[in-house]
């Protein structure tokens, strides 16, 4: 299938979504609040997050992961993938908080707290395992990762050339907690279990799990 893999997988996934009634419906159900400007704000972030959570809850992984975890060879593809969650509304903010402060905010919310815990459990890397995951289950790791979308911990792709992801935070002003902060941030940015899981889905090499 070299002909297929040369194309833009993220575009193909978007096409497939709009040809499916459920995916089409829940896609525009989040695009609408995530792009609708209210008073002096770029959007209603709370409504955008809620609709994004519904999208990943209701749409079968074949379509939702298809758009979020598509494999790419060029910038038109990676940029489309980065735009999947409408980052201007759901991700970016005026200020970048410290990751440990963001984690504290997350822990005050029931959904965010439990989904973050799932993510740390199911995407735990293990260098000695074949899959690079302690749990040896890519599907659970991707489910946990996508579960964070629509919480204050919403992650997204950082750049064009690799699968590095992070929530909207950094480790400046960490004081004595710098090491802990970097450990938290690197669990997103430099996580071989998560990267392998995304890659396996994108290449269709782990099809048995879906």
């Amino acid at each position: 299938e070299p002909v297929i893999s040369k194309g833009n997988n993220c575009l193909d996934a978007a096409k497939a979504c709009n040809l499916d009634d459920t995916c089409k419906k829940f896609r525009s159900a989040y695009i609408t609040p995530c792009t609708y400007s209210v008073s002096n704000e770029i959007c209603n972030k709370r409504k955008c997050h809620k609709a994004l959570r519904q999208f990943f809850d209701k749409v079968p992984p074949k379509h939702s992961y298809g758009m979020l975890f598509c494999s790419c060879r060029d910038i038109a593809c990676t940029e489309r993938r980065r735009q999947t969650i409408v980052p201007a509304c759901s991700y970016e903010d005026r200020e970048k908080p410290n990751c440990l402060n963001l984690q504290d905010t997350c822990k005050t919310n029931y959904i965010c707290r439990s989904r973050l815990a799932d993510f740390f459990t199911n995407c735990q890397p293990e260098s000695r395992s074949v899959s690079s995951c302690l749990k040896e289950n890519y599907a659970d790791c991707l489910l946990a990762y996508s579960g964070l979308i629509g919480t204050v911990m919403t992650p997204n792709y950082l750049n064009y050339n690799n699968l590095s992801v992070a929530p909207w935070c950094d480790c400046s002003n960490s004081g004595n907690d710098l090491e802990e902060c970097l450990k938290f941030l690197n669990f997103f940015q430099d996580n071989s279990c998560l990267k392998n899981a995304i890659q396996a889905f994108g290449n269709g090499t782990d099809v048995n799990v879906w």
Partner: protein, 108 residues
């Protein structure tokens, strides 16, 4: 009943669909995304009411003279499909189409 009923039904007002590129719609968007466009087509002969019959008679015997009178029901959407969204080729703008595609047809 069976044969005649089926033949009538196939001419009746129904929902049909066609797979298109968004650019085929001629709305001026630049995108490579696609959609299923659903539309209403077919005859509304079997849905003629007494109202239509009277209008027909009145225009024929010239009690009513107006080219704006339509003495027959028309096959039109009575409900619209869900919204459609797509990413522009600039890779930063999303567009949303509303009431762009039929969901249910009726003779109205």
């Amino acid at each position: 009943k069976g044969r005649r009923g089926q033949r009538l039904k196939s001419r009746d007002c129904v929902l049909s669909e066609i797979h298109l590129n968004v650019t085929d719609l001629g709305l001026g968007y630049t995108t490579k995304e696609e959609l299923i466009f659903r539309y209403c087509s077919g005859s509304c002969e079997s849905a003629v009411t007494l109202y239509d019959q009277i209008l027909n008679n009145l225009t024929q015997n010239r009690k009513l003279v107006s080219d704006k009178i339509r003495p027959q029901p028309c096959c039109r959407p009575i409900a619209y499909d869900d919204d459609l969204s797509f990413l522009d080729d600039d890779l930063s703008t999303y567009h949303i189409l509303r009431k762009h595609s039929a969901k249910k047809c009726g003779c109205v």
